[in-house]
Symmetry: C2
Subunit: 345 residues, 2 copies
């Protein structure tokens, strides 16, 4: 690849002049400008992104930390982030932590502030302390999909009211007439899905419904499958299952199929998120949709603002930590839920 | 973030000495080395990847071009590539072209040789001419999942015998006793799935089976769904469907469910690839597995060799274009295929 110096030599100007032309800076006469551009074309020179980033004290990519690229939600979110980032000429480096805080820290240490000028984090099981460290070194961090708008995390974030999502799912099942409902929580009791389950419990309590059975599970199809089988074994009279995420909800539908139960006639199933598979499953999954594309857009624009304002580099007070809240989650009624019918087994 | 110069000042040495210590180069006395490392610790200095890459004339990432990050195969493959790349300290930038050659070219122009020192391409609908251009500028390119080991593409590649995959799928259905088999091809007739279909047709021909019905479709669940419905409408007596990829095969299973057909009793379905969803569907999908993890490893190691040997920068003859061939695809028999039974409809 030709260098800036070679372009300058070809055009008979200094490298600084080439740089000024390419960056539309400084005063350069039109004739000189033309000569430089012709040299650029003739040699096939491309401005060196890494060099430019270095010269300008900034790097041209955003990093997106995800906990599991194999979980279909993250590619969908990554796609939305990439589209939003592209509008400002940023490329997105997807860093997959595999739910391992040590891997996450390694990525943060090596990428933040060097390859990437900002970091987006989605439930990546990172220690908040590591994220604060990255921020304190001058690389802005935005948490996407923060689950509790009422309890800001002390880092810039885009929050989604996931408690409401759980509540909407619960109310939907109650309105259909379900009273014996099992719950699958795709995280530990104190984990990232806790808010969703709290909302669900709120809905049941408001309706005076009996205490529900709950099973904590891996946030996967297999995790939901195992949990649903355990719930239905413990209480064969359950008429509905609520899962805190679509993947375990899909697993619950598989469990129903293997047990010879018809969904929704024998068992209603509802999830949260509305990943593409929710729409594509048979029966299609009723779920509470999270505004993924909107969250991606809010997160990228917040991160860009922080980068441009050199957020975190100057001393700042905690009170100023910005939070954007997405529009509310929304119930999507599909074929996996219906009125309960009595069944004998 | 502290600079190399600040570390040098703190340690009372020149920046060149700090650089030598960090890169284990040059002659530096043990006392000086210790002083430098203490300064690095004290200031929290992290070697600047972009700066280092620039200084060494190389960039520290590999780019992975995929045609659709929303297609679950690509995240699975990206995960495998990332794991392989990590062993040599490379990060992977995933570039999603959305099956648009123009987007692909934009990525290649901006990333190759600047942010990334090598490019992996997976069916990214890129023009071969664009890839040759990238290579001629000194950035090695490796095509992953090349479909025809017998017809090398003129670029370094990892090839998989997809024709054999189609043949194995066809033979499996024939051995079960199927004779009226519909085929769904997830690309245009001359597209990337053509080899798979040719192998399938070979198997039918070898068995003296009648000519099959074929439908070309989008390589998605929905595409497979539509194609299966069209095939079953044109010939309600089909007892099996072969799809050139798992996603359209899953769509064919959905179509069967919507038509009230039991899989496999009324309709057997077989795919190619063995994505995670194939294992997780109900019934689980019989498919011909492609060695995804092996291909990722071969592709990363080939790309690293090309980077280290400065492949493409010197003049070279076409005869030397390297190709690695993966181990053979392998039939995975699951619950979606069985012997045909007569049905009246």
């Amino acid at each position: 690849m030709p260098t800036l110096t070679e372009v300058a030599r070809h055009a008979g100007v200094t490298p600084a002049t080439v740089s000024n032309v390419l960056r539309n800076r400084g005063r350069v006469g039109e004739t000189t400008r033309q000569r430089v551009l012709e040299a650029v074309d003739a040699l096939g020179y491309r401005p060196h992104l890494a060099a430019r980033a270095l010269a300008e004290g900034r790097a041209p990519t955003l990093a997106l930390m995800v906990s599991s690229i194999a979980n279909p939600f993250y590619p969908e979110f990554a796609l939305a982030v990439e589209r939003a980032a592209r509008t400002s000429g940023h490329f997105v480096i997807i860093c997959n932590t595999n739910e391992d805080p040590v891997t996450g820290r390694a990525y943060l240490d090596q990428i933040a502030g060097t390859l990437s000028e900002g970091v987006l984090v989605t439930n990546a099981n990172l220690e908040l302390a590591d994220l604060h460290m990255t921020e304190s070194r001058g690389t802005p961090v935005v948490l996407c999909m923060w689950e509790r708008p009422n309890e800001p995390p002390g880092l810039p974030c885009v929050a989604v009211d996931f408690r409401l999502a759980g509540e909407l799912a619960g109310e939907h099942l109650l309105e259909l007439g379900h009273r014996r409902i099992g719950a699958i929580v795709g995280s530990k009791a104190s984990g990232i899905h806790a808010a969703r389950y709290e909302g669900f419990v709120d809905a049941l309590r408001a309706a005076g419904a009996p205490k529900n059975r709950v099973k904590h599970a891996a946030d996967t199809i297999q995790g939901g499958y195992n949990a649903a089988r355990a719930l239905l074994e413990a209480d064969p009279k359950l008429t509905a299952i609520f899962a805190t995420n679509d993947l375990p909800a899909l697993g619950a539908m598989h469990a129903a199929a293997d047990l010879g139960l018809n969904v929704p006639a024998d068992l209603s199933v509802v999830g949260i998120t509305d990943i593409q598979l929710a729409r594509e499953s048979r029966p299609a999954l009723t779920t509470v949709a999270v505004p993924t594309v909107e969250v991606a857009g809010l997160a990228v624009s917040l991160l860009r603002e922080l980068i441009e304002s050199s957020y975190g580099q100057a001393g700042r007070s905690k009170a100023k930590v910005p939070m954007r809240v997405s529009s509310a989650p929304k119930l999507m009624v599909r074929a996996s839920t219906g009125t309960p019918r009595l069944r004998s087994r």
